[in-house]
Assembly symmetry: C2
Homo-oligomer: 316 residues x 2
């Protein structure tokens, strides 16, 4: 029996999806369309309004609450300050959707929505102190402490991918050097693999075979070559686990969570990183921070943003 339906919307770089989500975090019905290049906000809003009516009708409820996850920086007023993959700057998404739908709408960053989903319905369920780290091409995070999701003064808390892991180290896509993302993000794993293949051509056969050419080596190539037993890929995975583990030490010591949840495409491709990085953290974090700590794989994967946005809307 699920009485409290709500609508979760995911406005991402590849697709826009509207899902009806039940009170247990299950997607009951959904509609989606490809995002397309530089989508016009008005067109996106029109799609959401239409899909919300059609998908929402299945609930039998007149007007379920609406939560929207956006791949970009969102302020507390629901304005999308910047979303590079959409080409959006300062789009007042919440105000425009509220006008179009005639009801209250919540707009949040998609990583925070995914973290909310893991907290309410996934690997974080039942805990009041958790950190979720999503490792895809980039690395994002969110922090729940004492039952509060941290927002920060400007609603941008949780950028754990851009914490310094190696002062003065590898250049990051942000302005810093040596960020966690610059070692374990998908783009960084690919970069490290290409550098290693260039430096050791004799050892690079597996990676080159899997990718076709050095320039085409990606994090997926590394995962595939590692699965096939390639030693260079194996070393890259080990080093990635070391870097991620050193990052988990920071998370554990600074925030003392009960659970650290690891998700995202890199973790899906290399799930062994969960146990391997947890082992590194267990050797090096403070005993007080390790007491009762579990490092877990994320449970909800691709549906996390719509599930989290829907959960937020239901509670908000």
């Amino acid at each position: 029996m699920t009485l409290r339906w709500s609508l979760g919307v995911d406005v991402g770089g590849t697709k826009i999806e509207v899902a009806l989500v039940d009170g247990d975090g299950r997607v009951v019905e959904r509609d989606r369309r490809p995002t397309g290049a530089a989508p016009d906000p008005a067109g996106v809003i029109a799609f959401i309004v239409g899909a919300a009516r059609a998908v929402g009708a299945g609930s039998g409820a007149a007007a379920p609450a609406v939560g929207v996850a956006v791949a970009g920086q969102v302020d507390r007023a629901g304005v999308v300050r910047g979303a590079p993959n959409l080409g959006w700057r300062d789009v007042p998404l919440r105000a425009e959707l509220e006008r179009a739908l005639g009801r209250r709408v919540l707009v949040v960053n998609d990583v925070r929505a995914a973290g909310w989903a893991e907290w309410r319905h996934g690997a974080g369920r039942g805990s009041d102190d958790l950190v979720a780290l999503f490792i895809g091409t980039g690395v994002g995070g969110c922090i729940v402490s004492g039952g509060h999701m941290l927002e920060g003064a400007g609603n941008s808390a949780g950028e754990l991918g851009h914490t310094t892991l190696v002062a003065g180290g590898r250049p990051c896509h942000c302005r810093n050097r040596g960020c966690l993302e610059a070692y374990v993000g998908g783009w960084a794993i690919a970069e490290r693999a290409r550098e290693a293949s260039r430096a050791e051509p004799a050892a690079a056969g597996g990676l080159l075979g899997a990718a076709g050419a050095l320039e085409r080596i990606t994090a997926e190539t590394v995962a595939a070559a590692h699965a096939a037993g390639d030693p260079l890929a194996g070393r890259l995975v080990c080093e990635t686990a070391e870097y991620l583990g050193a990052g988990l030490v920071s998370v554990a010591n600074a925030l003392n969570p009960e659970r650290i949840i690891l998700g995202g495409g890199v973790i899906e491709g290399l799930p062994e990183l969960v146990a391997a990085s947890a082992a590194v953290a267990r050797e090096r974090a403070l005993p007080a921070a390790l007491d009762g700590l579990a490092v877990l794989r994320a449970a909800l994967v691709v549906d996390a943003p719509v599930i989290g946005a829907a959960a937020l809307a239901r509670e908000g």
Copy 2:
């Protein structure tokens, strides 16, 4: 007019102090004694009980609330799990003080008490999102987000000194390598200065002159030689600002505070580290994290633990 007095107690490695603190965070009266080596908990409790009566009498109030700051790990039940400088393990300080005083007592870690003091009465006053970093021999921190002081699942949140700054880097006194503390803590500055003096004897005259001998070089020596214009000390201070700045990038990006407050003996000796590390952070942190961020020097210095413990007791 200050109506809400409370008592703040600081049980530290060098002194035990009982202070009557007014509602504006001012110390009105105090009593103290040296801690001594391996102090017996019963003797410390007896001193606190006597001093609380004498000092508290000045308030005119019958029984002001009591907060105790301890240099060690304290659990939520007020048990001192470990305090290396006192030689204490598993001392039920709260229960014993409550029995002896006949009223409710709060016991907290001294760094968290100092952070609470800065939040309520110091450089963090009026803000709901701040991080305080205390850089003495060791480095401790505390985090306030959305008006909540982060405690963590096991009450040990805030160990920002033991976040990884250089993966695989300098050995820390904890089990990790490359901690922030292993670069900017007082012991680490001293170690780095001794290494530099050993590596470049021709440049080490200023440091050796200030210390008397290489083995006696401390963070204070570096500050003194830097004040006298010594180039090697100047380089060590610059490098320390770089490391600290790289750490502030992490704090800003992960937590998005409105204020970062820097205190402790190293900052008192080298106050220029505040502006220099803030400049590094301003170049490298995410624009969203920098928007509205102020990096400030702590305001309360040595009295912070008693002021914070008293403020906590008043509010708790």
